[in-house]
Subunit: 555 residues, 2 copies
């Protein structure tokens, strides 16, 4: 029996047949940035090369274009509300064969066990999922959820299969001030993703000097150009809320493309299902004026090289036969996808093992969510299209809440980790005329957060979330619509098709409640204390500028 | 006391002064392929970045251009006849701050001890010398010199500081046939240089599949383009004999530059001293039509990335402050060079510790080099400008040797490793009218090789080499001119200026002898049995086509 490598070498020489030959294909070459006609041979999942090969299976690809499998340089799978397996089943037909995922959300809920669960889910996922270790759990001391991960907690993962490096380092002040815990984390791996929105000049120099190498938070061309010039890889992002391709694509040229990648960061499953994944990014980039060859290179070789994945990103001898077949590079509609030489076919969901229960709280009593008082009250003001909030003051009497005329509703946060704490505040901007919503996704601690017109509906929404062991719930009267998120309260074990159907149903219900679009997205950020201006936590109202708890009534 | 990294971070933020600020410089940025004006700050040998920095030392660089330190992607230091320290002292003022060297020659002579000596010579060399482990010692079974290096011998070096990967794998048939010893060597490191002149098509695919990643042997644009397309890094070579820049430079474009580097492979010290090193390559590339920005990128970031040296190749925060100052990118005359922020100033040679004796042989007796016979004799024919030889047949009587009318001289090889063997043959093409030359450089076993008009002069030349513990010698009558190569018979412990002076003197003597230009170069390849057609070894005449020893007289 020949060693595996020799089997491949013999086949590459043409001494033995290939498994599959893609005949007469037009193949993208990222090393030259152009296309070449040829027959591409594959064996045992590995590219043998182009040439006059014969294969046990031969596919005529006349008129078709083959590109390497697409790579997402930075994604939080949890944001899709899907388990890694379902996420993979959803994105694979769009041409994605590798994702670099940061399990930041589940790590905040479940710590090391959460990362382990995500690693275990790599098996049989149908694409190659690689993880960056979450570097900021919790994101800030007051954000503490279910875990605190120090360098000593993360070290056990170094060298494990599927672990790529250290995930986005968001604690810029800690990096600059030389926080020893952060320095220890930065020392864990030679591959370190950054996260530094708006950072520039000397402070950016210092952040880079500390060892951060990439950024996916650029929003302006000037910011991206400065970071690129200073040596950062620029991940141009196209997520459900943050869409930077149109603004940033002029940055990508033949000179810079080797340092530019695509990232989706946070994508809801409806967007993925309806508009695609990295293929969507490529199409958007082309629409924004980039030539297809540079867009494809970003999504393939550039991303592979950024993460030292020298076994992919190009269809040359010895690399993985991860590839997509497209009809036309300009349209970039993915027709077929092959992972390690095997075609990815439509498949039924493998129902994953549910994650251990992670909701450890009771529905609060009516008394626990009552408020009393009057005078100028602090009200969190939603800002359309943004995750920042405004700090508003309304002259209020608690007996007049809800004040649907002024759109002031109650918002509560119930600690889900067993402390029993429940904080109550007020929010402006949801515009619900009736009903309530609740969610076990509330960055970054992921306590249960709810808002609505009546205490009864708020409590029923919370109860629905708890009963589902996590979820999104919309309640009108005594009727509850729920998307269960039974994996750590973040992801659903349902098939992606069902998750999208339930999301559509939730949207329909919240529209009937008179609410703004995507109320769950706004709700999920109302507890994020690291972003201005006013937030709600399980302790009550939080002033993000003064960085301290404040009373609801200002005097 | 702050940790080193925090000292740098504070300085990058501008909280403490830099060591040096290069003010008003025009700085090359390999990430964008262009130039940017600014003040470049350096501390503790590390780039802090550009910005409004103050430094303890400030250098006005108005009108000057700063580029990252230059990198040679593939060189055999032994070919310079200089020790690593002297080599470094010679190339550093030309802007070279990193070389990737393959100590193939000394490894053939002295094995592991030779590599250790080269590693030890890194200390205080004044540039960063990194080594690739010689993969082919000996180059072929019959080439055996002072050592045989198997994977188990090389493994001890893996992970050692200064070791970069596995050096040029020349045994293409062994790679393709799956020689287990070669497979073991390929498994030693993830960075593996190739050497595959003329290899193409499916066999090239197989060679790449086995794990080889680079090639510095391309001579035609078509060969280089195929290798580049298939994923190889292309090292475009400019050595003393092999000069490929003019032919290959059209390959380098904004699309391909990230995969193209410069290499000098084998350079004599006179070339280095008079025409430069990688700066010479850049000038030649520009003369051949490449824009300076692409040439500089080849010599900096592209080479750094090929070898995973992410700490250099660009002058951005956190990378080594290895840099050159040039007046004008088009002319590319290096004015000043800084290694880790310190200016490289003219220095006197540090006399290195001589290498242990490696010449273990006596001068052969006159009888040992006599030949007797007549009839058609096999004569090695030199080919001008080539290392291939012709296999000639001359009707000869041994009593008529030397036959200066027909330019047929005796050539001998004395084993230097103590076997006592001495082989004798005939060579056509040196055109000496008198005298003899001898050398302890004869690829790849590096036995002592000599040729000349009289046995006495041949023996005196050999004696001179032995007395010098290695060297190049030219003898006329009883007068010997010697360049001692007392380090393994390959390198001299003399300062480079003296080595060049002695080389000039040797050239002058061999010209007076009536010889062709550079006779030592031709002499050094006459024992290389892996290249056609006829060679001389310590066993006698060798037919490289039949791959066996043959008698001098053909019948």
């Amino acid at each position: 029996m020949l060693p595996e490598r020799q089997t491949l070498i013999d086949a590459a020489r043409g001494l033995t047949p290939a498994d599959t030959v893609f005949k007469n294909a037009t193949i993208f070459n990222p090393f030259t940035g152009d296309w070449q006609r040829g027959d591409l041979a594959v064996k045992n999942g590995i590219v043998l090369g182009t040439g006059a090969y014969t294969g046990r299976s031969e596919r005529d690809c006349t008129g078709l274009f083959i590109v390497p499998g697409l790579i997402d340089a930075h994604v939080h799978i949890e944001s899709s509300l899907l388990t890694p397996q379902e996420y993979a089943r959803l994105v694979a037909p769009h041409g994605t064969t590798t994702v670099i995922a940061d399990p930041h959300e589940i790590a905040n809920v479940a710590g090391v066990a959460g990362i382990e669960a995500m690693l275990a889910a790599r098996q049989g996922a149908g694409i190659d999922i690689r993880y960056m270790l979450p570097s900021c759990v919790p994101a800030a001391p007051l954000e503490k959820g279910g875990a605190v991960l120090e360098a000593c907690d993360l070290r056990r993962f170094i060298g494990r299969e599927g672990i790529c490096g250290l995930g986005e380092m968001m604690n810029v002040p800690g990096v600059l001030s030389g926080d020893p815990g952060i320095a220890d984390k930065l020392a864990l791996s030679a591959i370190r993703d950054g996260h530094a929105p708006g950072l520039s000049g000397m402070d950016l120099n210092a952040y880079l000097l500390a060892g951060l190498q990439s950024d996916h938070e650029c929003t302006s061309p000037a910011e991206a150009e400065e970071k690129l010039r200073k040596g950062m890889y620029i991940f141009i992002r196209d997520g459900s809320t943050e869409q930077n391709i149109e603004a940033l694509i002029p940055l990508v040229t033949r000179d810079t493309v080797s340092r530019c990648c695509f990232a989706t960061d946070d994508c809801h499953p409806d967007l993925l299902m309806r508009e695609g994944h990295i293929d969507r990014c490529i199409r958007k980039a082309i629409t924004s004026g980039l030539v297809p060859e540079l867009a494809i290179r970003m999504a393939t070789l550039s991303a592979a090289e950024r993460f030292g994945l020298h076994d992919r990103g190009a269809l040359v001898p010895g690399r993985r036969a991860d590839l997509c077949i497209v009809d036309d590079p300009e349209q970039f509609t993915v027709r077929q996808v092959f992972l390690e030489g095997m075609e990815i076919l439509p498949s039924r969901p493998a129902r994953p093992v549910p994650f251990p229960p992670s909701i450890h709280c009771q529905v609060p009593s009516s008394a626990a969510i009552s408020i009393a008082g009057n005078g100028p009250a602090r009200v969190i003001g939603l800002v359309p299209g943004q995750i920042v909030t405004e700090s508003l003051l309304y002259d209020t009497d608690s007996r007049n809440i809800p004040d649907t005329d002024q759109d002031i509703l109650k918002v509560i946060v119930c600690n889900r980790y067993g402390t029993g704490r429940c904080g109550v505040g007020l929010v402006h901007g949801f515009s619900f005329g009736r009903g309530a919503i609740a969610a076990s996704i509330s960055h970054d601690a992921h306590n249960i957060i709810a808002s609505g017109v009546s205490d009864d509906e708020i409590l029923l929404a919370v109860r629905s979330v708890i009963q589902a062991q996590g979820g999104l719930a919309a309640v009108t009267g005594t009727s509850a619509t729920v998307l269960p998120l039974d994996c750590a309260g973040l992801m659903s074990t349902l098939p992606f098709e069902d998750v999208v159907t339930r999301l559509d149903l939730l949207s329909s219900v919240t529209r009937q409640m008179g609410g703004i679009n995507r109320p769950f997205m706004y709700l999920s950020f109302l507890a994020l204390t690291v972003i201005p201006a006013l937030r709600i936590t399980d302790r009550g109202v939080f002033d993000c500028v003064k960085f301290r708890d404040v009373p609801l009534f200002a005097v």
